[in-house]
Symmetry: C2
Subunit: 333 residues, 2 copies
């Protein structure tokens, strides 16, 4: 199958819901070739501008083994019953090293992935979290242009990846296991503060009592936190993939949150701000790239200067002044 | 008293231990006048290069009311008894708004401030945390050049200020009060992970039992955390300003830590890395300043572009590409 790189062809395929073209579009945005980058930018620009129906972007996080994939599958299937179109994406900064620890095995969502109303994309390629984040943001734009209205972005709790997902979604769901150790984890990492919904998963069988206790602990912990600026009060739900009514309750709560932020125009503002943040981050990193290209040349003797800084032979301020004086910036005519 | 702005005069005063010149140097580094900035950079460069005796930089954090100032005073007095010279600085990002919530009232360290072997400097002026951090890093360089070998950097637990202090010190001390609520606070904000020493303060009188429990809780929490890369195992100590032996024990533990990182050459490496980070941060912000000056002009129509990004009329990537293409960077001959 020849790869299509023309953005217009891809865009038309996407809005028509052509899944093969969607896959090609993903390859294009993850490509590092300079020519591809230009086409990818045009494509994403068209996707961002596309006026599609309302959508909800949900970040899902939790430690490995908490059951993220199976919860997402159950949630996705329930959402499809309610006539949603469901996209599942992932931000996994470890993927460049390990080949991806989440969504890598599509068979974990066998039932969901076989649905024509679901689109599952394993973790984006990328050497840095920044690269993975950018690709995921762009993947969201593609999925929405293709009419997917429930976007689930999965992440593992590694360093900054959760903050990154938080900054590209409307809602943040934190999955935990029944038991004491996990609480502390989520609390110490500040995840609970970001969560709109805490889901105590695997709340069945022998873990029933533990799950009740965990839910109580989280409710207490949430009470200690300041209210969210949105006015939404974070909730704690128990969930088991073996009890369909808990999945129904979960999706109901998600729908309640969605109405809440829509009615108050919170979603719209938050997305506008997220776009601005994305823009500013890109601008900074693009400028730094440009600067790095300049700095990597021999003329400035940067490596020499860096070792002097390391050995305290020059102060950082003076080193920077020496560099900055030499760099000229201007607007091209 | 005329302000001296000549860096050489100030530098010579500093290395001679002239406290009036030190004060003038602080004013110089906090000044925003372009001419002052140049002199300040020369001064700091000389201070960084100065080969002074070994020193330990200690970050001290904890919620308001935990007793930071009185612990620092007792610790400082004990250190002076051991022939150290003690400098107390502060990073307080709220100072630009409130006039400073820490160290603002020097009378809180009356005894310490009257010692000729102590130098206390209230929070640096600065509109941003970045500005305050820079001034504090430079203040450390000045104090060390003046022969102060125990540098205590106090901060309140506001947002990023703790991370900022962590990144400019060799050791991080976290003060807590006996009682349950505070534990959670420290844990959720990730402070405990940064701490080399947790001090349960005001461990006296009726709070004795509570303090024992808190110390136990912190020891448990610390056990759950991964070991520090330095190999140092974080400790928990109880402290009361009314019991001199607890201050002695605290300073002993600090001395133990100091030996630990010196013997393993951890301190030296960590400082080298901190200098590099400082350099890279300054380089980025200086470049961004330069870029912002360019962007604030009319030619690029940045504000217009930003509102388009906000309204999703253009994708962040395309907006950045449009800007980047127009910006020319080169090395001045």
């Amino acid at each position: 199958m020849a790869r299509v790189r023309n953005w217009k062809v891809l865009y038309e395929g996407i809005v028509a819901g052509d899944r093969v073209k969607m896959g090609m579009a993903f390859s294009l945005i993850e490509s590092n070739k300079p020519g591809d980058k230009k086409e990818a930018n045009r494509l994403i620009n068209a996707c961002v501008r596309a006026k599609t129906k309302r959508s909800l972007r949900i970040g899902v996080t939790g430690s490995p083994g908490v059951g993220k994939s199976s919860v997402i599958e159950k949630l996705g299937l329930e959402a499809i019953e309610r006539r949603h179109k469901v996209a599942v994406l992932a931000v996994d900064p470890s993927s460049s090293i390990s080949g991806g620890s989440i969504l890598g095995d599509k068979t974990r969502m066998l039932e969901l992935s076989s649905s024509p109303r679901a689109f599952i994309r394993p973790s984006a390629a990328g050497k840095t979290l920044g690269g993975v984040s950018r690709a995921t943001r762009e993947a969201i734009a593609i999925c929405e242009a293709a009419g997917y209205d429930l976007i689930l972005v999965e992440t593992v709790g590694v360093g900054q990846s959760e903050i990154s997902v938080y900054n590209m979604t409307d809602m943040f769901v934190f999955l935990v296991l029944p038991g004491a150790g996990d609480e502390l984890q989520g609390i110490k990492r500040g995840i609970v503060e970001m969560a709109d919904l805490v889901v105590v998963n695997k709340a069945d069988g022998e873990r029933g009592n533990l799950a009740d206790q965990s839910a109580k602990d989280y409710r207490n912990a949430l009470h200690l936190l300041a209210a969210k600026t949105s006015g939404w009060r974070a909730r704690v739900l128990k969930h088991s993939i073996e009890q369909k009514d808990t999945t129904t309750a979960l999706l109901d709560k998600i729908a309640e949150f969605w109405s809440f932020i829509e009615e108050r125009e919170i979603q719209q503002k938050r997305r506008g701000q997220q776009q601005m943040t994305w823009f500013e981050e890109l601008l900074k990193s693009s400028l730094l790239e440009k600067v790095n290209a300049l700095l990597s040349g021999e003329e400035l003797k940067l490596e020499e200067l860096k070792s002097e800084v390391y050995r305290s032979e020059i102060s950082p301020g003076t080193a920077v002044d020496q560099l900055i004086e030499k760099i000229e910036l201007k607007i091209a005519k």
